[in-house]
Amino acid sequence: MVARSSCCAIWFRAERSRVSTPHSTSPHGGALSGRGNGLRIQFNDIEKRYGMRLALRGISLEIAAGECVALVGHNGSGKTTLLKIVAQLTKPSRGTLAFYSAENSVPLEEVKSLVGMVGHNTLLYEEMTAEENLIFFAKLFGLANPAELSRKALQPVGLANRASDLVRTFSRGMRQRLSIARALLASPGLLLFDEAGTGLDPEGQHWLGTTIKHLRDSGCTILMSTHGRNETQEAVTRAIRLEGGRITHDSGAGGNPNEVLVMAAVRESGEEGQQ
């Protein structure tokens, strides 16, 4: 598959068009994706309420820069809610969230430009071409040379030859790849994947797993919610299990994530067997 070989290709670094903030000092040209400084995240007693329902309770956690964390748990356990809070799509009902880049605290408004998210939905405009989608989001993120950036971003995901095609004509796998290209446009320090492997065929999942490994190696912090046991979990350095909005298991910063992953997978398949 074209994508696999392109994964080894060199990603292009984006240059900020705004006044530079303390952490955007890395050299451009030829650098790997993600920034050298992944973001560190600190959760302080995060709680999220929807009406009278507690989706998350008492989440206190620290995720170090460069970790690749898998969030596991069945549907409704709070994984997506947690990711949404990190992405600042929703505010916690209680508790605080803090982000750090190389020991410097990053104010919440600036964090958005350092975060890329690949959601369950593609978050793409069907009636625009692949290139137009990327250019649009590049502009919204305040990146310089959106057109060039967009063209360069399509190559590693193997969509360069489909740049002028409407997203409406893309398969699920292609849309996921474009979604990832979009998330990587601004060279994020933190990447969020919300069940990004769903709907991909085994080849696509393998590609995703390799891509995540590359991104982790380049220093990006990664937070991904997954379901069951799949190839995308190869790069994981830490696993956290959520149930009923609480953390039940955490393999820890230096620990072995596999135990948690296996246990979670067994439980999930057990539930599925019962249904």
Partner: protein, 224 residues
């Protein structure tokens, strides 16, 4: 990323998507046309009567068409949850609303400008001599329509029966716009033509008040 810049990027996107398909514009224009024609059956469009009733019917047609067409601005963002994509970007949430307001304003104005000559022909009204004044009234009224309509379409997008809900919410609130725009248009089309400062100032106040209200509370509608 400043508010103005983000708004213009989103505006450009809205315009590009719409002009590619032209479905919305075309359908809205045809709808206004149908309403204008049907209204003409309800009275005898002689010259004097046209000048008395015509403007009101014209603005009614614009309001109805607007309240149907404005739906799509936020419904469109529900496919693939692109609204979340917009909210992920480091932009002021109000720029999402402002961009759509501006796009809706331009679309509506375009439809109105296209239908104006048709109205003039069907109802025997001379618009050319007073075209600038007419356009001024159109612009002032349409700002109110687009601003309020965009905010309410964000409201309706979260409710059931949204096709019915948007007109239900929008039309009563826009009653002052209907009155002011109609009266101003009648004044302009009169012989001798008269541009009512009272009504124009009123429309300006309406627009200002609702744009400010939209700016202050609009972004709450985008929250999750």
């Amino acid at each position: 990323m400043t508010l103005a810049r983000a708004t213009s990027v989103i505006l450009a996107k809205e315009l590009r998507t719409e002009f590619r398909s032209r479905q919305l514009l075309g359908t809205t224009a045809v709808f206004v046309l149908i309403v204008i024609v049907l209204f003409s059956f309800t009275f005898n469009p002689t010259s004097t009567e046209s000048r008395r009733f015509g403007p009101g019917l014209l603005w009614l047609a614009f309001l109805f068409a607007g309240s149907l067409m404005l739906q799509s601005s936020f419904l469109r963002e529900q496919t693939n949850d692109t609204l979340a994509a917009l909210r992920l970007a480091p932009i002021d949430p109000f720029s999402i609303i402002a961009g759509k307001m501006a796009a809706n304003f331009l679309f509506l104005l375009l439809v109105e400008v296209i239908l104006l000559p048709v109205f003039a022909v069907l109802y025997n009204v001379a618009i050319l001599p007073v075209l600038p004044q007419l356009l001024l009234v159109l612009v002032m009224g349409t700002i109110g329509l687009a601003a309020t309509g965009t905010v309410f379409s964000a409201v309706a997008a979260q409710a059931r029966l949204r096709e019915l809900l948007l007109p239900l919410l929008l039309l009563p609130v826009l009653a002052p716009v209907l009155i002011a725009s109609t009266e101003a248009t009648i004044g302009v089309l009169q012989d001798p033509s008269e541009l009512s400062l009272v009504w124009l100032t009123f429309l300006a106040c309406f627009d200002l008040i609702f744009l400010t209200a939209a700016w202050m509370v609009g972004e709450y509608l985008l929250e999750e």
